[in-house]
Assembly symmetry: C3
């Protein structure tokens, strides 16, 4: 980790919030401590791991034990403060949005640095931010939340596009990162605050009966 310390703090906040989200959902399904830890870990590092496998580089958590320890801390936190967590929902939501913003920027950067075009980088940013939540929902056997209810991964896509346009327009890397990340953060926050959602795909109820031929 050669990142500056402000980014490390954001990384801790994001990882903590992502892990907490997995652990709480696992708790609602009566998972044991081990299962909850794994779901928390998958939420926190799943997106980055899928990204790194696709980019063919070693997953970050295999070279830095920070993410495993941070998830352990999150588990402890839920074990101790379980019943009171509901009062922290707004805080967790803010932390989660910070994580989403940071992870998107980190995933975008990593792909650009490896020479991929901007549209691959935007996808990788979105995977870094949102795929952990999909993995979490697969593990707890629910339909992934981000496919149905909320502007979540879409905020990553929007932020990635803004980030890229900043770079394109000749802006400094550092500034572009801040603007891109802030866009993810604000898109997410405002979408939830003002109940902005994407349209639901109209019920083609015949979808289940495909593959008929006579």
């Amino acid at each position: 980790m050669e990142m500056p310390s402000f980014v490390q703090i954001l990384d801790f906040i994001g990882t903590f919030a992502f892990a907490i989200s997995g652990i709480r959902l696992a708790s609602a399904k009566r998972f044991d401590w081990f299962g909850a830890y794994i779901v928390g870990l998958a939420t926190a590092i799943g997106g980055g791991t899928i990204r790194d496998v696709l980019l063919d580089v070693p997953p970050v958590w295999m070279t830095d034990s920070f993410y495993l320890l941070c998830t352990g801390f999150s588990l402890l936190f839920v074990i101790i403060f379980g019943k009171y967590l509901i009062h922290l929902n707004n805080t967790f939501f803010l932390f989660d949005s910070i994580g989403l913003a940071l992870f998107t920027v980190v995933g975008f950067d990593k792909s650009m640095a490896l020479g991929y075009p901007f549209w691959v980088s935007i996808i990788m940013g979105s995977i870094t931010g949102a795929a952990g939540g999909v993995l979490r929902d697969v593990f707890i056997n629910e339909i992934p939340l981000i496919f149905r209810k909320e502007i979540y991964a879409m905020a990553c896509v929007v932020g990635g596009l803004v980030y890229w346009m900043c770079l394109k327009s000749g802006m400094e890397n550092y500034l572009s990162q801040i603007i891109g990340g802030t866009t993810v953060f604000l898109t997410r926050i405002l979408a939830v605050k003002y109940h902005v959602t994407l349209p639901i795909l109209k019920g083609d109820e015949s979808g289940n009966e495909h593959h008929l031929i006579n």
Copy 2:
């Protein structure tokens, strides 16, 4: 893309049909546009991506934006023609079978070119053809269709075997590809038309109660 243009047309037809199948099933589950796009994309490129990760080569869609655009086109198609799609079921079925055949052949070829034995290549062909549908069903939280109902991946295995036997017997690459692909296509079409299915595994209902010891 250095493939000849006839293959490109088949590739479009197959990708379109695979994406449509994912998007329609997502629609039946009331996913939003973004979720439907992701499920469509996973159906279309999931198999090839798993294959490329296993073969340790870059996933095709990361070097060619065709698949992302084609899935976007499929989403638009469902949004516009949603209610009328049921009348196109037979067309989609044909397109899907074309895709299955092409993807199987492409996956087989790629593995052979990397020096893998024929049985790995047959598996990779089948993964290319069928694993996207498994990923789709995991995302919409259903038991994968191909495990229970239909000759689907089995058509890939049969076609892969025929393809390999053609090559073995000294036939031209080009001809072997056509015969292999046609075998996948016909196996799939005929199995559905004549309701040919694999036997169901007899109910060892005790399966759930494993791991007892006294």
Copy 3:
């Protein structure tokens, strides 16, 4: 395969038991033969495959057809002896525990040999032993068993720790492997025999309602 023949026997026993566990659960869900084979295969080789993808080395089953053949043998076994398998539950449990122990040791070794630190190796050992079962449960659309009910992956973690401490204390590789594997085996057996389980995470029932902001 340059492993000595005793390890090969354990490998067969473990692969057989893992595949049987997948095939029986698939059977309880009325999968067809092909679906059951795939679920059996995923159970047997899923953990090793995920490990090898993370370690960026070729998955073992792609260079050795043993695992595919062994899974085929397991399917045949269930087809023929389906109804009588319930009487073999204790045997399968023992075989499964042997597999768990062996796979953990193999996964740990492989990671250490690639130069990873001990904590990555313990995770890789646990993934090798337990991730196939998670994949199995995702395919049959159930919440992964190991997250809720039993000491399973935890036995891999404990055994991996013991293995590493043996190595650390200067013990011979060979002996450390046996002690590490035996620890996995005994932890698993004794936990089931004496109904030792991990604590359930207390119901933070609000887990589902996260992401509220006002």
